[in-house]
């Protein structure tokens, strides 16, 4: 299959985006990032075109999820690494930013103390030293990017160097996430135990409950998603992207051609971890809580489902998948909570068995089916071409 894809891919296009592609990227981005917030701010309450602030908040949350899904996809769909630790990086970014938010509460907490509430509750007398720098916003953002990046670097350096791949890597990342979640669930680890951080009041001096701040966070999430999309698009379009896919399809061939595949993998792994951390940091002020249940292996696998449902190996697919599955989840957990696990479980199975290309492959399949119906003359050619595009 590697041969067929290299043959059928003269797609080293000179341009990053064609004109039509720029249009189809910019128009939705502008609608989401500019039009919706403006409509929300300008229109009177009850107007049929006005998106509620709740809706914007929800979309903002989905946008951060979509960034997480894009990371999973870049690793899994393009590089062939199924990492079950992406929720860990997401939550670590969230925790780092949550520390900053927690300190920004000041004396407005339950106990009217300088210390975060849970520390008062657990009997801390003063702020632990490693919390001090988190009063600074720039420092918190640095940690948001660096901490997941560093952990990914440490783990990835060891794992890729000893050529752990495929299923083994998945199981190891899962174990790493599991161990970290166990650690964060402990009260004496110092990060709030299973309650985590909550009750945030303000970010950068803005009240977190005001509509303006929520709109701002929503815009930031959409802009982050758009920027990450562009970055990953650029990465996958460049020679680097072809190398990534080559590593996915036949790592040894690439290795024997003289590329240090481990370094490429490590680079992508670290980059994705840092960006995922950033998404986690934007997620936390919008949902108002971060706790260890966000970093369980289950969460990671759920992110993988978004990608699988949307369509891996494409960049639009994961975004669609994250939106679709989460919208389905919000609906199902309200309408039929006892059926939700069946729905998501069934989705897993159906997508894996019958729709390996995900939702995004449906139009293409329909088109192919339609073409087959209208022109049923050369059956042999049609069959061989469809077989060639399977992977």
């Amino acid at each position: 299959m590697s041969a067929s894809s290299s043959l059928s891919a003269p797609d080293v296009e000179p341009r990053f985006f064609s004109r039509a592609q720029w249009a189809s990227f910019l128009i939705p981005t502008l609608i989401l990032a500019a039009l919706l917030p403006i409509l929300n701010a300008v229109l009177p309450d009850g107007h049929w075109l006005k998106p509620s602030i709740f809706t914007l908040n929800l979309y903002g949350k989905y946008a951060t999820y979509a960034v997480l899904a894009l990371g999973v996809d870049l690793l899994w769909g393009y590089l062939g690494i199924l990492s079950l630790g992406q929720a860990l990086f997401f939550a670590l970014g969230g925790y780092a930013f949550g520390m900053h938010l927690l300190l920004m509460i000041g004396k407005d907490g339950q106990y009217k103390s300088d210390l975060p509430d849970y520390m008062v509750f657990l009997g801390y007398k003063e702020l632990p030293a490693h919390w001090e720098p988190f009063y600074s916003f720039p420092f918190a953002i640095c940690v948001v990017l660096l901490l997941p990046g560093l952990i990914a670097f440490g783990f990835g350096w060891l794992a890729f160097r000893s050529r752990i791949k495929g299923v083994y890597l998945s199981i190891l990342t899962q174990a790493l996430t599991y161990a970290a979640a166990l650690l964060f669930f402990r009260n004496d680890f110092g990060f709030g135990g299973n309650n985590g951080f909550t009750d945030f009041k303000r970010v950068l001096g803005f009240d977190l409950n005001s509509d303006e701040t929520r709109r701002g966070l929503y815009i930031a999430s959409v802009v982050l998603l758009a920027a990450v999309f562009l970055l990953y698009r650029w990465l996958t379009r460049a020679k680097f992207g072809h190398l990534m896919q080559a590593i996915r399809d036949g790592e040894n061939r690439v290795l024997f051609s003289g590329y240090a595949t481990a370094r490429y993998k490590l680079f992508v792994f670290v980059l994705v971890a840092a960006i995922t951390g950033l998404a986690g940091a934007l997620y936390v002020p919008q949902v108002g809580i971060i706790n260890p249940s966000e970093m369980t292996p289950e969460q990671s696998i759920e992110a993988v489902v978004w990608v699988a449902v949307g369509g891996r190996g494409t960049l639009l697919g994961p975004i669609l998948g994250a939106l679709f599955v989460n919208a389905l989840k919000s609906w199902a957990t309200r309408a039929a909570p006892e059926l939700w696990l069946y729905i998501i479980g069934g989705l897993f199975i159906v997508v894996v068995l019958f729709l390996p290309g995900g939702l995004i492959s449906i139009p293409g399949k329909l088109k192919a089916a339609y073409a087959k119906l209208t022109a049923p003359k050369p059956p042999a050619a049609a069959a061989s071409s469809s077989a060639g595009t399977l992977h």
């Binding site: 199924l82 000893s162 174990a175 040894n252 998501i344 479980g345």
Partner: protein, 559 residues
């Protein structure tokens, strides 16, 4: 007097009705019971003395009656012929809301002499028999001593220990006479300890020293606490005794350190056996077939719930705690194996057979299956844990020089060894095993020479799933059975398979024992969760060093 005579005659008649081996014993029993009833009916002035006269009498009826009295649950019933009888009432009212009066001496319903039918009372109709402070003290004295001659050795040991803790010299003669007739070794040790404990406060220094050394050689923990207390007290004990206490303390503490180490080691081996049982099925499906079955934990839960269902059937047929009930677990083992194997077969036919070439996707699809199975357990058996009662032969433990070996853990170790042996025999000595290994080594080649690979896959997967079911049945005897129980163990099991070396049963054995024991030995030092986290990180690091695990499969292929 006449009344009493009538009563005792009645009792004798009752005594004769029941099968009693020995007439003399029956007579002794009757007289003891008569004395009890006499004491209960005695006038207030002489009642305390009458109760005290019961001290040392050996009869099973005395303790319950006095306990009920103390708790305000003893009543005086006046029969139609004017006689009075002490009685307790049934705890729960019958369908008509009536309580049956039970006679104190043998627990059977009191009969109305006129109609020969049980006497019935409405709740609150009778007033409980009063006690005064004086009477309560007398009752306590009787009960304290009564336990020493209780027919149940466990109760006997308990009350002997309690007597020792009172440190009252007045109990010494009783304990010493008991020591002369006691035959059960465990109770004898307890008796010796209690006597030595009381003798620690003896007036004679020689006796005290002897008591210290006897307690030291008995490795008594309560004695260690008392020695510490005595050494810290302000009027320090005499030098000779202090020195004896110090050496005794050292001896006791060293002994318990060794005991704890071996106890942890044993727990570690049994935890490792549990891991092994879970991982063995996984080693077959994952290691030999290359399929990531995330629903393996749920197959295990199928086995556990199958055990639960079999238990319930046995309870409804034989009744809880009956002789037949004890065999439910033996019946549950094959049922658990077959149920889990059938579910595994369905899973293989429905999902996994399409994914042999896409292992990463088999991980996702089986994860979906595991979510659906969990929800099914929740809907069928409820979200809470279900109650599983261990059969009598799995309860309790054997002690070898203070190291406790719980029977259920011993059973798990033995069972795991059997399963490993059986699994190894199936794989290496049967034609199915031969086919399995052929397909694993080279699926296409095996298919070319006529092996029906689809059938072999089915059988192998069902066998691995059945092993998961057996693991679940065993786990139901050790811990809680609930819908999410599978999730607790699945990651550990994967770690065992990966670190043991995929496709290698011996590797799984070594890895699970290693992980189990290290985990248990770390737990007392670091706490339960930290130990687990440390083990997980250690495995992750170990695999960076040896990616193939302990016993990697050698092969010339690259991927």
């Amino acid at each position: 007097m006449l009344r009493l005579l009538a009563l005792s005659l009645f009792l004798v008649a009752l005594g004769l009705l029941r099968p009693v081996a020995n007439a003399a014993e029956a007579a002794a029993k009757t007289s003891a019971r008569a004395q009890l009833i006499e004491a209960l009916l005695a006038p207030t002035a002489t009642q305390a003395a009458a109760i005290r006269s019961l001290v040392g009498l050996e009869d099973a009826a005395i303790a319950p009656a006095l306990t009920a009295w103390r708790a305000g649950e003893l009543y005086l019933v006046t029969l139609t012929d004017g006689t009075r009888a002490p009685a307790t009432l049934t705890p729960a009212p019958s369908a008509e809301g009536q309580l049956v009066a039970l006679s104190v001496d043998n627990g059977t319903p009191l009969l109305d002499p006129a109609t020969s039918r049980p006497l019935l009372f409405a709740p609150k109709q009778l007033k409980p028999l009063d006690t005064s402070a004086l009477l309560r003290r007398a009752i306590r004295d009787v009960l304290e001593v009564a336990g020493v001659s209780d027919p149940n050795p466990a109760t006997r040991r308990e009350s002997i220990e309690r007597l020792g803790q009172t440190r009252k010299a007045e109990h010494l003669p009783l304990l010493q006479t008991r020591l002369e007739i006691e035959k059960i070794p465990a109770v004898r040790t307890t008796l010796n300890d209690a006597i030595a404990f009381i003798q620690l406060a003896d007036a004679d220094p020689q006796v005290r020293l002897a008591a210290i050394s006897s307690l030291a050689s008995a490795h008594s923990l309560s004695a260690a606490a008392r020695f510490k207390e005595a050494l810290a007290a302000t009027p320090a004990p005499p030098a000779a005794e202090a020195a004896a206490m110090q050496t005794a303390l050292k001896k006791i503490e060293a002994h318990w350190q060794v005991v704890n180490f071996f106890g942890n080691l044993f727990r570690g081996i049994s935890a490792g056996s549990v891991l092994l049982l879970i991982a063995l099925g996984l080693a077959i499906t994952f290691g030999l077939m290359g399929v990531i079955n995330m629903a393996h934990g749920e197959l295990m839960v199928v086995g556990a719930y199958a055990t639960y269902v079999v238990q319930n059937i046995f309870v409804s047929v034989f009744g809880l705690g009956s002789f037949g009930f004890n065999f439910y677990f033996l019946a549950a083992l094959p049922v658990a194996f077959i149920c889990a194997a059938l579910v595994g077969l369905l899973l293989e036919r429905g999902v996994i057979q399409f994914l042999y070439k896409r292992p990463l996707e088999s991980l996702l699809a089986t994860w979906g299956v595991s979510l659906a199975l969990q929800q099914t357990f929740r809907l069928v058996f409820g979200p809470a844990n279900v109650q599983i009662n261990a059969p009598a032969w799995l309860q309790g433990s054997a002690a070898v020089s203070d190291v406790l070996f719980a029977y259920n853990r011993l059973f798990v170790i033995g069972f795991a060894a059997l399963v490993v042996l059986g699994g190894g025999l199936v794989l290496n000595r049967t034609s199915l095993g031969l086919l399995v290994r052929a397909v694993m080594q080279n699926r296409q080649m095996a298919s070319c020479i006529g092996v029906r690979t689809t059938q072999v896959n089915m059988m192998t997967f069902a066998f691995g799933s059945g092993l998961a079911g057996l693991a679940g049945a065993c786990l139901s005897q050790l811990g809680n059975v609930g819908p999410s129980m599978g999730q607790l163990h699945i990651i550990d099991a994967f770690m065992v398979v990966v670190s043991g070396g995929v496709g290698n049963v011996l590797g799984s054995v070594v890895a699970s024992m290693g992980i189990g024991t290290v985990d248990q030995l770390l737990q007392p030092v670091l706490g339960a969760v930290m130990g687990k986290i440390l083990v997980l990180f250690a495995i992750i690091l170990f695999l960076q060093w040896r990616p193939g695990g302990l016993f990697p499969t050698r092969s010339r292929s690259l991927d």
